[in-house]
């Protein structure tokens, strides 16, 4: 059942109003207005999202809301409309984007309170919300791509928000270029789909249309399309091989990291795969690639996170690792599990970033965990909310992370990827370890804070702590919508999404509770190790680092991937740009031509200017001669 629902347009309208307001009036009307309008429009969009969600709930399963804004592209039989749609999948995403987005906007009021460029910040944030909503509300692939590029742009703008620092600007460019590589894959995937459908006489990129004409795809074409699109997803969602931009993206303001680089934008890839689940189901080998890359990325990033000392870097690698989990889920065919993890991850990772931001804010910009510690007393609210988030991400029941991670691991095991399941379980242990390491280093033990900073350290204002509390509640109980089947109300979440992304049916018999117990046990082991190393025997980590120096350095240098990319991609690129394109083509060929033309014109002009008397009647006379000539031409040559 499809219902036309005009309020969908309003969901987009309010962030747009916010953008225009902050762009044109924000700086003029001052901080007070921006602080109200910036988050306010997102809260309104959130309310509208809840309305749409309630409407979906009230309708029979599998129904969707649709609203066509306008016809966008009319090229012969190729037709794309600027249409919005909400089904179960996008409803969940809209709630995540607007709900968490709204509280993060609110938090930003406090976080950016001392920044002069608050209007520009909120312009970008609202623009991001707009683009992200276009991405999730799009009813066709092309429009989704518009949102996809839009969030990429906002990500770039916000990473390089403090653009006067050249390193920050460089990191923004890095994110943008890594995404560009992925986007090329996305475009090629889209073209593949157009080519396949067009070959069969269907000229549309509408999700529904693609779904209806799945028969036109062979396994090969579907695999090609899926892999290309997944390349786009690896860029946007920071998976191997294009994950390198995300850790560097942490130079942006912390609310940006929370909203864009943890809760919403980076999950766009997962959303895209879930959205096109019917296509991926046609290509088992592509699914296998997705699941493998997800699992490997999860482990890989998790190991790097162990040794990082920058609080945001740890969280960034943790994000990459958790995104890997999500891809493991969707790659195993458990699409609902993947999206479920998107949701719970948005809660606890958004919260973690906001807590980290609160700590950084409280310590006046300090990000190094080795210079923290003992902050439990100074920042009680931050501590307790961060504790909840850490337990949630470490997958301890009954906090939300447990249920989603459990569902993903069950999916991996059930689809027969036993090796990937093992990796997932190990990663769960690593997750528990590094997250509690972070918590212990930050809030427990002796204070290692700069005395100067400690003197000013303070709990954040209510405008920042309220979002923390709200998100903490969500992180604690948010997982209860997806309990294991047969337990209390069971798996509401998967049942809700089932009409859109299908139901996961295990191919291998799963031992059920046993799996959960194993994963839980491993997580707890990781936590205990963290306790031993950082609370019980704080000297031990240095000893280990000294003894296993090679491994430690390898991890600290992030497996030398950045250096590797630098060598094979960046350096040759700079060389070509500088020596061939800049010196050769630009300076010599183009500039030479342009300047030569100019010099030639100047010389000839100096001669020709003598004919210019400046007397308008002379010009008119010449003009008249021209008219006579043209009329004569027609009269004696053409019309004769």
């Amino acid at each position: 059942m499809t219902v036309e629902f005009g309020a969908l347009g309003l969901i987009l309208l309010f962030p747009l109003i916010g953008v225009l307001f902050n762009l044109f009036l924000g700086a003029r009307l001052g901080r007070r207005w921006v602080n109200i309008v910036g988050p306010g429009v997102i809260f309104i969009a959130f309310a509208l999202g809840i309305w749409a969600f309630a409407k979906i709930l009230s309708m029979p399963a599998g129904s969707e809301l649709h609203y066509k804004l306008w016809d966008w592209i009319e090229g012969g039989s190729f037709h794309v409309e600027f249409g919005l749609r909400i089904d179960a999948l996008s409803a969940v995403m809209v709630l995540i984007v607007t709900g968490i987005g709204a509280f993060i906007h609110l938090y930003s009021d406090g976080y950016m309170a001392h920044d002069a460029d608050y209007a520009r910040f909120f312009t970008y944030m609202n623009l991001f919300a707009l683009a992200m909503l276009i991405l999730v509300l799009a009813d066709n692939l092309l429009m989704m791509f518009v949102g996809w590029e839009g969030v990429g742009l906002c990500s770039y703008l916000l990473i390089a928000f403090w653009y006067s620092n050249p390193e920050f600007a460089y990191n923004g460019r890095k994110a943008f270029i890594a995404n560009r590589v992925g986007d090329a894959g996305f475009i090629l995937g889209m073209l593949t789909i157009i080519a396949v459908l067009g070959h069969g006489g269907v000229w549309s990129l509408d999700f529904g249309t693609i779904h209806r004409h799945l028969g036109l795809f062979t396994t090969t074409t579907a695999t090609v399309a899926c892999l290309l699109l997944f390349l786009g997803a690896t860029g946007k969602s920071a998976q191997i091989p294009l994950y390198v931009w995300l850790p560097d993206a942490m130079v942006g303001p912390t609310p940006v990291s929370a909203l864009i680089h943890a809760a919403t934008m980076v999950t766009a890839g997962v959303y895209m795969v879930a959205r096109l689940n019917f296509l991926y189901m046609l290509a088992p080998s592509a699914m296998m690639v997705v699941a493998t890359i997800g699992a490997v990325t999860a482990l890989f990033a998790g190991t790097i996170a162990i040794v990082q000392s920058d609080i945001k870097k740890v969280l960034a690698y943790s994000t990459i690792s958790q995104l890997g989990y999500m891809f493991l889920g969707v790659g195993s065919g458990a699409f609902a599990a993947g999206i479920f993890h998107v949701m719970t991850h948005a809660f606890f990772k958004g919260l973690l970033f906001l807590c980290a931001g609160s700590v950084i804010h409280g310590l006046g910009g300090e990000q190094d965990m080795t210079r923290m510690g003992g902050l439990r007393k100074v920042m009680p609210i931050t501590f307790w909310t961060m504790l909840i988030a850490t337990i949630a991400i470490s997958a301890i029941p009954p906090f939300s992370g447990f249920f989603s991670k459990d569902m993903i691991l069950a999916g991996a095991y059930g689809s027969g990827h036993f090796g990937l399941w093992i990796i997932g379980v190990i990663t769960a242990g690593i997750t528990g370890f590094y997250m509690f390491r972070l918590l212990f280093l930050t809030f427990f033990g002796e204070s290692r804070v700069d005395p100067e900073r400690l003197h000013h350290a303070h709990e954040s204002p209510p405008v920042m702590t309220i979002p923390l509390i709200v998100l903490a509640i969500a992180a604690a109980i948010g997982g209860w919508v997806g309990l294991p089947d047969g337990f209390l109300w069971g798996d509401l979440f998967s049942r809700f999404l089932a009409p859109t992304v299908g139901t996961f049916t295990p191919t291998v018999a799963t031992p059920g509770v046993l799996l959960s117990v194993i994963a839980l046990a491993i997580s707890i082991v990781g936590i205990i190790i963290a306790w031993v190393l950082y609370i019980w025997m704080p000297g031990l980590p240095y000893l280990i680092a000294w003894r296993a120096k090679a491994l430690y350095t390898l991890l600290l240098q992030k497996y030398y991937i950045d250096q590797f990319y630098n060598l094979i991609v960046t350096r040759p690129l700079f060389f070509v740009s500088n020596w061939i394109l800049h010196r050769g083509v630009d300076r010599f060929a183009i500039d030479g031509t342009v300047n030569g033309t100019g010099i030639a014109l100047e010389t000839s002009g100096a001669i020709a200017r003598r004919s210019e008397t400046g007397n308008i009647q002379h010009y008119a006379f010449i003009y008249l001669l021209g008219v006579i000539g043209i009329v004569a031409y027609y009269l004696f040559l053409v019309m004769r």
């Binding site: 009647q617 006379f621 008249l624 001669l625 008219v627 006579i628 009329v631 027609y634 009269l635």
Partner: protein
């Protein structure tokens, strides 16, 4: 329109328009131009373009030409008394004009000119038919024209407004006493 009337109006038009370009005194030129415009307006009416004809008289002869008259007064332009230089331009201009008229006459007279005569209804040229065409087919052009007029008004005021301390403001007493009274 009877042929006799057309001939009369045509002769008046040509003589008056020659008057525009041949007389020395700008006011006389202007008067000739007004006569030309009125004669053309009458030709319009004779050609069943009644409304356009009257508009020609109202807008062109009644308003635009008065503007010219004002400017002539304001600038206090007398008859052309300067040296009659540019004789070459005059000579060649005359020759070129003669060539152009020869060409145009060949161009516009049979056998080149082929127009199918179509009859038209009794209401042709009435204000109603003009309005129907104007407000349906040409509505966008009409609205744009209104904006053009607005811009022209603003532009004219902006251009002609005298800033403080401009040259003429100081020497106003000599050249344009009219301005002070107005």
């Amino acid at each position: 329109m009877p042929m006799g009337l057309f001939w009369f109006l045509a002769v008046v038009t040509v003589i008056a328009s020659l008057g525009v370009i041949l007389q020395r005194n700008p006011v006389h030129c202007l008067l000739s131009l007004v006569v030309t415009l009125l004669a053309i307006a009458v030709i319009f009416i004779g050609e069943d373009a009644v409304v356009v004809g009257f508009l020609q008289a109202i807008v062109y002869a009644g308003a635009i030409m008065v503007l010219f008259l004002f400017v002539i007064w304001l600038l206090n332009i007398g008859a052309d008394t300067g040296p009659s230089g540019h004789l070459a331009l005059k000579f060649f201009g005359g020759v070129a004009a003669a060539a152009l008229i020869a060409e145009l006459l060949i161009f516009l007279l049979p056998p080149h000119l082929k127009v199918k005569f179509a009859g038209h209804s009794a209401t042709y040229g009435s204000i109603e038919s003009l309005a129907r065409t104007l407000f349906s087919q040409y509505i966008v052009a009409f609205e744009i024209t209104s904006i053009l007029l607005l811009i022209a008004i603003v532009g004219a005021v902006a251009l002609a407004r005298r800033g403080p301390g401009s040259q003429l403001a100081k020497s106003a007493s000599g050249s344009a006493p009219a301005e002070r009274v107005l």
